[in-house]
């Protein structure tokens, strides 16, 4: 009796209670995320004009996108710049954060101090602060254009030199994005099973091999989180080229051009989500699954092989037996038949 009552306490109203706790977030998600997400898509196909009662939408098809891509002169170069920034910054952030976390993960003193310095930018990093620092020219530590190697590269190919210069000029900015990634990577590195590394060492692997064969495959899922985080963070950061355009488009077209603004936002968001998708596709962890599958498959294959062998053996023994019997009967028949044939001949 008592037991039954206990059970009822747990099962009763769990759904209701859970949804009560979830309620604020759920309402917010539906009203302020899900509905806006879909409505922005809808708006991008409309001409939106503000009147006394609110906004009036009229369907105009893909005209907004046509205006955006073919008649607006500012958008195309900005979106290309944005793609280039994402493509160069995100890998740079991942690689730098990984290297720094590897360095921090060796047994050094003052680890907490270094970690504190590297994490500090996370707290103060904001668009205006960065803009002011850049405008005062206090972010470029090294002037690469003075170095002779750089001049040689510039003579060889100005485009490559431009790219290098942009990376070095924004080196501090890239470093400042690595605060959270470093912590995530350090956490990921500490979770790697040390027995695996010891086993590899006993088998004679050097640290280079351990890095490529054990550390990097194990850190892949962390790299995925870091990549997605960085893509999203850079997308909403004031220093990236398209940010100001998106913000201004929404604010300037408040009265009559929100459809156009929705189209801008849609293209921009599409690119951000595309990068998230690419990161997901490249860094998604499949190794474990594949390994498990192959193990199971191998067992299955072995079993089938053994069964086949047994079958064949059985068949062979059966065949052998039959053959033997056949031969024996043959010989018997031969003995019986041979004599009359011979006699006939």
């Amino acid at each position: 009796m008592k037991r039954k009552r206990q059970k009822s306490v747990f099962s009763k109203n769990t759904n209701l209670n859970a949804y009560l706790f979830l309620m604020p977030w759920l309402i917010g998600f539906i009203i302020f995320v899900a509905y806006p997400f879909l409505y922005t898509m809808f708006l991008s196909l409309n001409s939106v004009v503000k009147n006394i009662t609110g906004w009036a939408n009229t369907y105009i098809g893909l005209t907004n996108f046509e205006v955006l891509f073919f008649r607006n002169t500012a958008f195309n170069p900005l979106i290309i710049d944005f793609i280039v920034v994402e493509l160069t910054y995100v890998p740079a952030i991942i690689i730098l954060a990984f290297i720094l976390s590897m360095l921090l993960n060796t047994n050094i003193k003052f680890r907490a101090g270094f970690r504190m310095i590297y994490f500090f930018p996370v707290v103060v990093l904001s668009g205006p602060v960065m803009t002011q620092l850049i405008s005062a020219d206090s972010t470029s530590t090294i002037d690469v254009t003075e170095i002779i190697i750089f001049r040689m590269i510039e003579n060889y190919s100005p485009f490559l030199a431009d790219m290098l210069a942009s990376i070095f000029n924004n080196f501090t900015l890239i470093l400042w994005f690595t605060g959270i990634p470093i912590i995530l990577f350090m956490n990921g590195l500490q979770k790697i099973n040390s027995q695996m590394i010891e086993a590899a060492q006993i088998d004679g692997a050097n640290s280079w091999q351990i890095l490529w064969k054990i550390t990097i495959p194990n850190i892949k899922s962390t790299a995925l989180v870091v990549a997605i985080f960085s893509v999203v963070q850079i997308a909403i950061f004031e220093v990236n080229p398209i940010y100001q355009f998106v913000v201004n488009t929404i604010r300037d077209n408040y009265a009559s051009g929100l459809g156009f603004a929705a189209a801008v936002v849609l293209v921009y968001s599409f690119i951000v989500l595309l990068f998230v998708g690419i990161a997901f596709f490249l860094l998604k962890e499949r190794d474990n699954e594949v390994y498990e599958e192959s193990l199971r498959e191998r067992q299955k294959r072995n079993l089938e092989k053994m069964q086949k062998m047994q079958k064949r053996q059985n068949e062979e023994t059966f065949k052998d037996g039959m053959k033997r019997i056949w031969n024996q009967t043959k010989t018997i028949f031969k003995k019986k038949e041979v004599t009359p044939h011979d006699s006939e001949a």
């Binding site: 206990q6 759904n15 209670n17 604020p24 922005t40 708006l43 904001s126």
Partner: protein, 356 residues
Amino acid sequence: MTAKLDLKKLKKKLMGHSATQGWIGKGIVYALLIGVSYIFLYPLLRMISMSFLTQIDLVNPEVGWIPTQLNFTNYVVANRVLGLLPPSLANFAEAPIQAILGIFRNGGNLWKSLKNITYLAVVQTIIASLTGFAFARYNFKFKKFWFVMVLLSFVIPLPMVTIPRIMIISRLQDSIWIPFYDTIRGTFLEGMLKPTLFQTLMPQSTFTLFGQGINSAILILIFYNFFKMIPISLDEAARIDGASSPQVFWHIYVKLVVPIIITVFLFSFVWNWNDIYSATMYYSANNPLIVLRLSQFDSQFSDLAGAIPGQAGEARINEAYKMAATFISMIPLFIIYLVAQRKFIEGIERTGMTGE
């Protein structure tokens, strides 16, 4: 014989067993770490140094890092442009009582933005804890679906949802806010300009109240992982004794996770403080938020040029003023970080993002 042994020992000490154990390896690691720390801190050091330079020092090629004389005029100017301290304090010498009374009338942008952001952070922390609790301790229908939605809400770029949000707020303003305002103040404020919702903290606090503040998903994840670590037997024991769900949540979970609540609050505070996007979109006019003020520094400066001490009408902006303003805008975050830097790092480790 001994020389050979010593050589071996020396080699072992220098090179070590693996790449990072010997003296050489360690030396390289330290050199790299210190070099990178320098690059990390260079902008900040440069900023602090520049914020003390006078106009003459700025153009003097001999002055690199250390100013020729200690002066705080840059900070005075930055304070004036950003409107940090209560404006009435400027005439403290002439009318001290009025100056002190003025503090209560207009507390200055620093006080106002601290107040606003604290409010947002408190609300965000509470909602994140409720949501995290629901995900960590209940098995309800569509749980997986909603959890994926939490993660998705982090990935969706904010501009994607901005336009309909503006429309919703504007509609609320027409249907609720203005009639409401009229009934309260209408009688004696007839004909005066009514503050629209976009001149208040209302839009942002509404989003935060419904769990859609800045980076809410990460805060929910921190709570989710932490609530999951608490043994469920505590929960069961309380329920057998007859506690209801809210009681269990308050007496068992919340009281056990006070450290993590502080962590989440700090993160929320910092992110809201730096959330320039929401500030420009939903609260651009009269927003006291200091980071937003900093982004408008140039135009504010030229507006106030006549009133700035030592400038006498010549509105010449220079880097030193900007750097002083930037430094001031960082100071609250700076203090928070110095006091609670461990909490920040633990918070990120606790998201469990690496484990899943």
